[in-house]
């Protein structure tokens, strides 16, 4: 996977992971991929719902202990 940008949102509590993701996404071109690392569990549902409502594609989610990793393709 070709990652255009990486966002470290570890340790941030809601709503900051989404706020930062939204900002990072504006810097990408359509079709480019953002990788995000988060530790806030609530981000799992929220990032999925946010991607959908914003027309982006959530490609993959991985969970490693307390770390959540997301790959979102800009739509």
């Amino acid at each position: 996977m070709n990652i255009a940008k990486f966002l470290d949102a570890k340790g941030l509590a809601c709503p900051m992971p989404i706020v930062r993701t939204k900002k990072a996404m504006t810097e990408l071109q359509v079709g480019e991929i953002l990788e995000i690392h988060v530790t806030d569990k609530g981000a799992k549902n929220d990032l999925a719902a946010w991607s959908k409502s914003g027309g982006h594609e959530l490609l993959k989610v991985e969970e490693e202990n307390d770390l959540l990793k997301f790959w979102i393709k800009k739509g």
Partner: protein, 375 residues
């Protein structure tokens, strides 16, 4: 305009007093549909916070100007953000302190009555999740039944009324919430009781709750009788206190009955459940006040916020007690079941002592409504 904070206790008061409140719930739609703050006169608007990051102008015309507005989210953070954005437009709003996480954990203690020998009975209403637990107090001693994991609430309450916690009971191995019984017993030195048929896999020692146990609390023998009432689990036990109260555990609720499937044996236990409800309970005095371990909907709350009803009234009105046809009854409790509670298997294993999740994990396991009844 300054943003105000509203506590779970204040929201609970509004629920009990049937006051109006407009709730702007900023969690995502699935979470809102699954579980929300319920109040008879509450109105709702659900807009996820992430749809408001660019501004709240779009929803200003959907907010009332004659009602108190409460912004609610999962843990507090996003509700503060949205409340502040709204207040910049001059809208007067509050946010829920601690979000739905705090709402799920809030317990409102309500006195349900006096006991014959000078004791008192309190009900702890877990308003956000529907769990009900009890504290019996007599001559400076206390017993707790079906404690939630918010152990401090019971310990502080007992301390404030100068009572020593001496006995703790679980009516059955719970599947929808994590029991605080064992922990309170460890912290206070009280005796912990559990029905042995539900405890075959537990990893800790307990006192077996068996038929006709008479237990002293204070200087008086409170006539707590274990009434073996299988159905919800194989060991489900109910209590009769002081010949006045029937603590029915998860067997019988105000407008519904216990579901027999949470340990995976609906077909096997349905006969026991019917036997308990339609024969064992019918032989009891219909004057007994039924005090269940849960409520299902907010309309089951009495005027003072407590949850109780006369057994005779339940035999007249409770749908689950009025299925004369055994086939219909079996169909109701085996085929018509609501979704199972969140993480119920993990909760059972936690209550058995097999796993010990940390506090954040416990919160997450318990999130959502309780779903231990069929109707």
């Amino acid at each position: 305009m300054a943003v105000k904070l509203m506590t779970s206790k204040e929201v609970t008061k509004k629920v009990i007093k049937k006051e109006e409140l407009f709730i702007l719930d900023v969690r995502n739609q699935n979470d809102f549909n699954d579980w929300k703050i319920e109040g008879e006169k509450f109105e709702y608007l659900n807009i996820p916070y992430f749809e408001l990051l660019d501004g709240v102008e779009g929803i200003l015309n959907q907010l009332p100007n004659d009602k108190e507005i409460l912004v609610v989210c999962a843990k507090e953070g996003s509700s503060v953000m949205v409340a502040e954005m709204l207040s910049e437009y001059g809208v007067s709003v509050s946010y829920l302190q601690g979000g739905m996480k705090a709402w799920s954990e809030y317990l409102e203690p309500i006195k349900v009555g006096d006991l014959v020998n000078g004791g008192e009975l309190y009900q702890f209403v877990r308003i956000g999740k529907g769990c009900l637990s009890y504290m019996l107090v007599s001559n400076g001693e206390a017993a707790i039944i079906d404690a939630t994991r918010m152990t401090d609430v019971y310990i502080d309450f007992a301390r404030d009324i100068n009572a020593k916690i001496v006995h703790i009971f679980d009516t059955h191995l719970h599947a929808d919430h994590i029991s605080g019984g064992r922990k309170i017993a460890e912290l206070t030195g009280a005796t912990y009781w559990l029905p042995p048929k539900d405890a075959t896999e537990v990893t800790f020692s307990y006192n077996p709750l068996e038929n006709n146990n008479q237990i002293m609390i204070g200087n008086t023998t409170l006539s707590i009788q274990a009434l073996y009432s299988p159905g919800h689990t194989i060991g489900s036990t109910s209590f009769i206190v002081d010949e006045q109260y029937l603590l029915s555990g998860d067997i019988l609720f105000i407008d519904s009955i216990g579901r027999p499937d949470l340990a995976g044996l609906a077909e096997d236990w349905v006969g026991d459940l019917r036997e308990t409800l339609y024969r064992r309970y019918k032989e009891l005095s219909h004057e007994l006040i039924v005090l269940p371990a849960h409520f299902m909907v907010i309309s089951e709350l009495n005027e003072d916020g407590s949850v109780s009803e006369k057994l005779g009234t339940l035999f007249e009105n409770n749908h689950g007690l009025n299925l004369s046809n055994e086939y219909e009854f079996n169909k109701l409790v085996t085929e018509n079941l609501p979704p199972q509670p969140n993480s119920y298997q993990e909760i059972r294993e936690t209550n058995m002592g097999k796993v010990t999740p940390d506090i954040e994990k416990q919160r997450e396991m318990e999130i959502g409504p309780n779903r231990c009844a069929v109707r």
